[in-house]
Amino acid sequence: MDPARKRKVRLVVALSAAVLLAGALVWTSFGEATQAKSPSQVLRAMPGRSYQVTGKVVPGSISRSGGLLHFRVRDRNGSASLPVVYTGVVPDPFRDGREVIVTGRMRGGSFVGERDSLVTKCPSKFQSQPGGKTL
């Protein structure tokens, strides 16, 4: 085979491998993805399908029984709240009013979180200004 033709063959092989891999990547990622929803959307959504919900912990709603953690989350601006049942590690900053992300599915009227899927965003306390105005 002459060198120019050989190079062309190599290029075609490499490009088709790249296209195949890229296709596989797109396929896997869309297949494995979980939809992100707000608590009020999840309340209206299909039971049984997996969602990732982001919301604020309703103050006073946290309770523990045995190894289970119960709390409610609501939209950032809204009042409808979603009851959550969760097992696994609770991140340290988890508290009333914090913004949390949890993955799970609706089962019997409450949102059952996957084990260890709870993420708490860093508190906003360290962003707000303590007293006084900026000069």
Partner: protein, 721 residues
């Protein structure tokens, strides 16, 4: 006073950076050397100004001067001194200052080293560095990220440093990471300079290779320290969670790794010029993106410290960098032609190319997963995200290939490989890998996880390759120079620092993956609730919860936490026996919740884990579900009775802590036995050692520099005479 000086330094610094950029461009276009020299000196001056600004801000932190917004935001008088010193970079403004300070230092060093070389490229590189500095300074001076902002009415006490960040690794991690991000701007600037003047040989690479390696080392160390922090501070027991910000740091590191390999092909064979130019642009862009992501709140992550106003200027800057660089590379395509062709697919350069493709594939899939919420929202209209399972699935095969390549690469010669070289190089390592595989299959249960089994085999192969190459080199040297074994080894390494430093890095990465593969596939984890006296099993260990503990202002980790409530756990296996003491620190609430006494228990509550480190396995424990239910009644009474008796508060809190110890309740623990996890950190240290070996100036280079300096001096004196 110090604030005025600091602000002034930033404003003058901005003007200096603008001047340096313009002077360098005008000097390059008109060929007036004195303007270029002046631009270089302006960069030195910038480094001086920013050093003063850093000192001013640090001194405000150390004095706890709460009239500064930043100091009030993330420090306090009761924050331990070490954390006061490092609190600066936990704020957005402080970390921007750190970024541009590091940039000015790097730029000064590289311009000092190249002041008599690369006369065509350096002016443009100076201009690029000046422009990057101008952007970061204008964020602070113009876009309101002023680190020296003052408060009209300073509070009596600051917020204190976020307790989660009170860990030594977390405090060194940001400067390391930033030193890495910033360092890649040096090869980037010189690449742009080389492209503009069409000097596309390997000169720009030779002058900045060391900087790329320094940046790579810092970035890698920073990432690893972040992992160590996650393992030993966050109460979940893992070291890597495929979090958006972790990924954002890993992407430039992977691209930088690819760059460090592919530049060797350009140096040796004059090939891959377009590739290298594009790669360094991609690396620098990824570094900017990494800096930006931590602060932007674009992606949800534990690091996303709320939305910031930086988004628009940052995205515009990244857009300008990408568009301008791509346009430049496209317009220079003809000068970037390869000087040679690939002779054979079985050659070192072909395998470098292959390793580059795998590294870039890794970077691309991680980028894809990280930005998937944005991508899917653009494509399907709904925001979707992918989690760790996706990342594990796509990265594990690529990592396996990469480790394999890191063993094959050193065995291949440039241009083409002969059958003899192949036989001589591969026979022993393949035999070692085969024996390892057999032993693992027969004597261990490693076959439970196929990826791990494959990884162990490949690691054995790589380590055998490195050992074989070092042994062969040493024995050849011993024969030629007649030196002793250690002497021959030392002179072998000193004479080929880059080569053997690289081998050491390969060995270190293998060791690191040994820890990753073993600990991720074969760890045992238990989440369990126990009363004092109750026992459970974790792996081969029997664990008994002995008793609760309580302490006031005596946290062992030195975080300055007021209250620590912990547990004593007995571990037993055969006649081995030891105790572990995980605990939780309680920081008083500052938002007034919980009442006068209750606030001491209702603030941040952080897990202080306890690890028994070991070469064969780590035992990791944390209190994951504290239980203060027995205290809520007494706290209510204390709030009512002693709410306005500040003098009694200390006693009341002590009494509450004593009550917690004396009336135990069931609490939840997480216990993990991770085999060989320590080898991740050991491997990381070996990688660092290898990088340092490669970085250390070789005796020949030092001699060369000394002679060139001496001849320059001689020349000056002759011209004066």
């Amino acid at each position: 006073m110090t604030g005025a000086v600091g602000s002034a330094c930033l404003v003058i610094g901005l003007l200096t950076a603008i001047y340096a950029t313009i002077a360098a461009v005008v000097g390059a276009v008109t060929g007036r050397r004195e303007l270029v020299t002046s631009a270089r000196r302006a960069v030195y001056c910038l480094a001086g100004l920013l050093t003063i600004a850093m000192v001013m801000l640090e001194s405000a932190y150390l004095r706890s001067d709460f009239s500064y917004k930043l100091v009030a935001q993330n420090s306090s008088t009761d924050t331990p001194t070490f954390y006061k010193f490092t609190a600066m970079w936990s704020s957005q403004e402080g970390s921007l200052l750190l970024w541009v300070f590091l940039l000015s230092v790097y730029s000064s060093v590289v311009l000092l080293l190249t002041r008599r070389r690369l006369r065509e490229i350096v002016p443009w590189a100076t201009a690029v560095l000046g422009a990057v500095a101008t952007f970061f300074l204008s964020l602070m001076v113009i876009f309101g990220q002023e680190p020296f902002a003052r408060l009209a009415s300073p509070p009596a006490q600051g917020n204190g440093l976020e307790p989660l960040l009170r860990h030594p690794a977390m405090m060194i991690h940001p400067p390391m990471l930033y030193s890495g991000y910033v360092g890649f701007s040096i090869p980037f600037a010189f690449a742009i300079g080389a492209l503009i003047v069409r000097r596309t040989d390997a000169d720009w690479i030779r002058s900045t290779r060391r900087f790329a390696l320094i940046a790579w080392t810092f970035l890698g160390t920073g990432i690893l320290l972040g992992a160590l922090w996650s393992y030993s501070e966050l109460g979940w027991g893992g070291y890597w969670g495929w979090d958006a910000v972790e990924n954002a740091a890993l992407i430039p590191w992977l691209l930088g790794t690819a760059f460090l390999h592919s530049v060797m092909v350009q140096e040796k064979r004059g090939m891959l010029k377009r590739w290298n130019a594009s790669l360094i642009v991609a690396t620098f862009t990824a570094a900017l993106l990494g800096t930006f992501l931590v602060r932007s709140g674009v992606l949800s992550s534990i690091h996303a410290f709320g939305a910031s106003t930086l988004g628009v200027p940052f995205l515009v800057f990244i857009g300008v960098v990408v568009c301008a660089s791509v346009a430049l590379i496209v317009s220079r395509l003809d000068s970037l032609r390869s000087e040679a062709r690939l002779d054979s697919l079985l050659s070192r350069e072909a395998f470098f190319l292959l390793n580059n493709l795998v590294l870039i594939a890794l970077a691309v899939v991680i980028f894809w997963g990280t930005f998937f919420p944005i991508i899917s929202e653009a494509v399907t209209g709904t925001k979707e995200s992918v989690g760790p399972p996706f990342f594990d699935r796509v990265t594990v095969p690529l990592a396996l290939v990469l480790v394999g390549l890191s063993g094959i690469g050193p065995l291949l010669t440039w241009r083409r490989v002969t059958a003899g070289t192949l036989r001589r190089g591969f026979l022993l390592p393949l035999a070692v890998a085969g024996v390892t595989l057999t032993v693992l299959l027969v004597f261990s249960d490693a076959s439970r996880s196929l990826p791990s089994l494959a990884m162990f085999t490949l690691i054995a192969f790589v380590l055998a390759v490195v050992t074989q190459e070092v042994a062969r080199g040493t024995s050849a040297r011993r024969m030629i120079a007649g030196e002793s074994w250690p002497g021959a080894f030392a002179s072998l390494v000193t004479r080929n620092r880059r080569r053997y430093g690289g081998y050491l890095v390969h060995a270190g990465i293998s060791v690191l993956f040994l820890g990753v593969a073993a600990s991720s596939a074969f760890h045992t984890q238990r989440d369990v609730r126990l009363m004092p006296g109750q026992s459970t099993k974790v792996g081969a260990y029997t664990v008994t919860y002995r008793r609760p503990t309580g302490g006031i202002r005596n946290d062992r980790a030195g975080t300055g936490a007021p209250i620590s409530l912990g547990a004593v756990l007995d571990f037993r296996k055969g006649n081995q026996h030891w105790t572990m003491r995980p605990s939780r620190n309680y920081y008083a609430a500052t938002d007034g919740s919980g009442g006068a006494i209750g606030r001491f228990f209702s603030g941040e509550s952080l897990s202080e884990i306890d690890v028994r480190w070991g070469l064969t396995r780590d035992v990791w424990t944390a209190i994951t579900q504290p239980n203060l239910s027995k205290l809520s009644g007494p706290i209510r009474i204390a709030n009512a009775k002693f709410g306005n008796a500040p003098a009694a508060q200390g006693l009341i809190v002590a009494a509450l802590v004593a009550r917690y110890v004396n009336y135990p309740v069931p609490i939840g623990f997480r216990m993990i036995v991770s085999p060989m996890i320590a080898w991740i950190w050991i491997g990381g240290a070996v990688v660092m050692l290898g990088a340092l070996t490669a970085l250390w100036p070789s005796p020949e280079a030092r001699r060369r520099r000394a002679t060139s300096l001496a001849s320059a001096r001689l020349g000056r004196e002759l011209s004066r005479a």
